[in-house]
């Protein structure tokens, strides 16, 4: 059983932030709570499966994250949630894991929920990209853009998703050429940047996601 911060049991959870034991996952959890969501950080399968919306955060190594996710049986849980049609948000490595594979961890399968692979950024630019950058929305997306304006978000990554299907790319960012900043496939939104570390701009984006998806 999992409890939210007010001590209530897990069935009241509206947003489950998947905790697979790697990295600083607290920021996303805290940011979602600040924006009004009853969010919990949890690895309990039933809590995640019953949540109204699910967030897969992530920092660090693709292989380590995928392995940690699999070891806890959470890969199947992610598939279950995405298939159920409920809103799903992947952040940074949580975005990259949705793809089939990554150059960072050859031989380790990703979740395969998006077709394509994850590749290193160009060696012509500093890696990691560790800076704010302007996210250019390439498809009409009310979560990613605010009144149609592009948004400045904070990035920390050395690799980037290369979706097979261009129509899945929802936003790009210029870093050694235009690279994928966000993907959208039905109920799945995936962002390479860290909205939970992008100040008010990022918090507002999380707020739009929660409200447009009807979570809060």
């Amino acid at each position: 059983m999992s409890y939210d911060d007010d001590g209530r049991p897990g069935q009241f959870v509206t947003v489950a932030v998947i905790d697979y034991g790697i990295g600083n996952l607290h920021s996303a959890h805290k940011a979602l709570r600040l924006m009004g969501a009853n969010a919990v950080l949890t690895d309990t399968h039933e809590v995640i499966k019953n949540a109204s919306a699910v967030v897969l955060p992530g920092v660090g190594n693709f292989g380590a994250c995928m392995t940690a996710l699999r070891d806890r049986g959470l890969d199947d849980v992610v598939h279950h949630v995405v298939a159920s049609g409920r809103p799903f948000l992947g952040i940074c490595v949580g975005m990259q894991m949705l793809f089939e594979s990554s150059e960072e961890a050859p031989g380790i399968d990703g979740l395969g929920l998006m077709k394509g692979s994850v590749a290193y950024l160009s060696s012509d630019v500093r890696r990691p990209q560790m800076q704010w950058n302007e996210v250019v929305v390439t498809q009409d997306d009310a979560v990613l853009s605010r009144n149609g304006e592009s948004q400045w978000m904070y990035f920390v990554h050395s690799l980037v998703a290369q979706p097979t299907h261009e129509e899945h790319i929802a936003a790009t960012v210029s870093y050694g050429g235009d690279v994928t900043a966000a993907c959208r496939r039905d109920n799945v939104l995936a962002v390479q940047f860290h909205p939970e570390k992008s100040g008010r701009t990022g918090l507002e984006m999380l707020g739009r996601w929660l409200s447009i998806e009807g979570v809060v």
């Binding site: 600083n24 060696s123 800076q131 050395s158």
Partner: protein, 259 residues
């Protein structure tokens, strides 16, 4: 490097959970509270924050962990904690408390494997290696420890390259010759390092004017500029700094609109 967006990073010295070194924002109730100051810098458009723990003894470090927790609770900007990170355990405590990165210095010089130990578990993106250097009589740069007092005989450029090989995802380069002088960054030092490594470089030490920040990026080719006193005493805001940089053609994140 045309896709670089230069970062402006205020540095806060903290001890026992409080900011020290005369921070003086107009209208701020409690000048020593790290959360209040962090929020103020966030409002001004700071791109990241660095907290440097100057607590002399490690006995009181738990107050720093509590401070990190409070900052992480309320400030949604990336922040680094440095000072006194001597072991993987120290790094873990700060990162678990909510810091995005830890900065290692003396302990990494003494035992470089510390960098890879942290990077292997938490990722290279969360390990900043601080390189404190002075120029020698022969023109080379030497790593100094303990606030610039202790020479090591180690070449600063070679150490920077080695630190990146060990897994440092970013370098915080401080000229101990310039630190506190308000005469500007040491561009020779910054350029020598930034041209030899592939990771981002933060310049530190010597900022006295906004032009120094501009020069740091244009002449030292660094990715971020760090300063303390010019921001703390209310002389300049972060958005002043960004305006100055943008007016010289440096790409920066615009200050957030206040609507």
């Amino acid at each position: 490097m045309s896709d670089r967006v230069a970062r402006v990073i205020p540095c806060l010295d903290v001890t026992e959970g409080r900011v020290v070194k005369g921070v003086n924002f107009v209208g701020l109730r409690d000048a020593g509270d790290p959360v209040e100051l962090a929020k103020r810098y966030d409002d001004q458009g700071a791109d990241e924050l660095v907290f440097l723990d100057i607590t002399a003894s490690s006995d009181n470090r738990s107050t720093t962990v509590e401070m990190v927790e409070r900052v992480a609770e309320q400030v949604f900007l990336p922040f680094t904690v440095g000072g006194g990170i001597r072991s993987l355990d120290d790094a873990r405590r700060m990162l678990r408390a909510g810091a995005d990165k830890v900065s290692v210095n003396t302990a990494a010089v003494e035992r470089p494997a510390l960098i890879s130990e942290i990077a292997d578990i938490f990722g290279t993106q969360c390990v900043v290696c601080a390189v404190d250097a002075r120029q020698t009589d022969s023109g080379t740069f030497e790593v100094f420890l303990h606030g610039g007092r202790t020479p090591t005989g180690i070449d600063a450029i070679e150490w920077a390259i080695e630190a990146v090989k060990m897994g440092a995802g970013e370098l915080l380069v401080t000229s101990m010759d310039r630190d506190g002088t308000r005469e500007g960054f040491d561009h020779d030092l910054n350029l020598a390092i930034s041209s030899r490594v592939g990771v981002p470089v933060i310049a530190s030490g010597g900022v006295g004017t906004l032009q120094h920040l501009v020069d740091g990026v244009l002449e030292g080719n660094v990715d971020a500029v760090l300063a303390a006193s010019i921001f703390h005493f209310g002389e300049h805001t972060i958005s002043d700094a960004k305006d100055a940089m943008a007016s010289k053609g440096i790409r920066v994140r615009p200050a957030q609109s206040s609507d």
